[in-house]
Amino acid sequence: MVLPPVAVVAVFIGFPVGAAIAYTLGKTGGPNSTIALIAQRQHVAKHGVTFAAYREVLGNAHVRGDLWATVWVTLLTIAAVVVLSWAIGLYVRLSDTWIARTVSALSVIPLFIPVVIASYAILTFYAAQGFIKTLAYHVGWHSFPTLGYTMWAVVIGEVWVNVPFGVLMMSSGLNSVPNALIEAARDSGASLPQTIRAVLLPMNVIPTVIVATFTGIYVLGSFTVPYLTGPSAPNLMGVSMSQFFQSFNQPQQAEVMAMIVFVLAAGLGTIYVWANMRAAKRASQTS
């Protein structure tokens, strides 16, 4: 029963990943022999493996700049998405007004807009000749900063793309907390902020971890938003990888960069798995 899916995963995911890892360690034969024929600046392991490609990539100041920018944008986006998702989720959970329902509906609209369209929309809004800058100019604020083609535009774009998922997750988590638990806290003397801190926050750790980790993994691997809205350099690793692979014809270096991004994403994935295991352990202890 389990063999077909395992075989599919092994052939279509496991094997390419294994071949790519081997290629980054200087193994240019076998499944990597074709790409090795056309690639430039390759590091070939004569015996065993070599970390020369890793040394080259990590020794490149431009790549280190990209890596730093990627980490910075990822952390900032995670923070913004978590805060915004919590704020909107809480507002919708605790307020039963038409405004709250409208905010809830509007916040998921970006889910249905392709990222490439959203990126151009962000550009026309924040670019040097964009709407915001033009508006600022007309009201006399000539020094208003241009956000288009900066890392700020990338962060805005990434937040725009990830907030709907965050709001859906947080709303779902917050709505699963029964009203009686909130009322019991108020009845015990807790103010609204105390109720949020003592009841809603600890009961929504898992949705928060999911939002943070999934957003982080998405930003680490994103290409369209930073490519269209970000600066030429430094930019996110996704854009850099693409340049090394296509423009510079250095697939080994591109795959090394992919490995580095994978390690970062795996770190986030570990937090997600740890949080789930902790929740499962607590559930088994209390049932």
Partner: protein
Amino acid sequence: MSESTTPAGLLIDRVSKDLAGRTIVDDMQLEVRAGELTCLLGPSGCGKTTTLRMVGGFLQPDAGAILIDGVDVSRLAPEKRPTAMVFQNYALWPHMSVFKNVSFGLRLRRLPRREIRDRVEQVLELVGLTHHMNSFPAQISGGEQQRVALARALVLEPKVLLLDEPLSNLDAKLRVRVREDIREIQQRVGITTVFVTHDQDEALSISDRIAVMSGGRVEQYADPTTLYREPATHFVASFVGAMNFYTGTVADGAVEIAGGVRVPCEGARRNGGAPVEIGVRPEDVMVSTAGDGAEAHVLREIPRGHYKELVMQLGEAEVRAFVGPEVSTSERQRVRFARAVVYAEGVLRPSTEPAPLR
């Protein structure tokens, strides 16, 4: 101090509440004496939980006032009121241990750690749960969870304790035990308590007084014995306990019901011949195989454990009687009423006052 000058533990003064365009509580007036346990009893949708939520501060009354110990608390938020609520589904925080659940309100009040521990231990001892101090809610039974919820409310030493159908999630046997526990603890602490339930048996067994509600109004507010023996309205009579109802007339020493059946009834006084509603509790139906009672045919015999219920045809009407399990029954029985209550236009007619002629 005389009773008239002592403020009520809780006064619900002409309170009304509309929800979604419907009047849920309508000009309600209720006074609960300090230390008294009052039950709000009624069918679903009668406004009892809405009333309780207004007392707790979770809803604001549209009109009227709520006073606790003579102080108007109508506009205070729940956290500012001297009340504590025990919720229907316990509402224990699943991520906190029993100790943390119970101590939550005390920690908010920034009491010294030593005092918090002492008070939590005292209240857990009161509800018999000190051994579960470090357990999580999911690790204890439903009855224990309910007692933790009660401890969490009592530890705050509120002036009024509110219980919103606290036993409805428990099985029948546990419900009886926990309600006795609640009553015993309430009496020991001497706290003014409002208990919402739709279970008349529950209300009759633990209340000092019961307010029977219907359509957002209090139909009758009385002690359990009065409520049962002299239900003020037809609704109360039909909602509290079982009651046989007949339309008929009352003569001296008998009642006459549909089909011209004349049933001897002790204490009956002629009412001028006007048709009235006559209510007879099943335990007031006397059954014998001989005598001057009206003839009835036994349709069914339902064993109820320590008694049995007879369903009989009495003329055109049906009559239900509770008799001892030792009473032998034949197909034909003679029926008398030991006691009957009479309603004119749905309202109890005092036995000393003849019903008006129509």
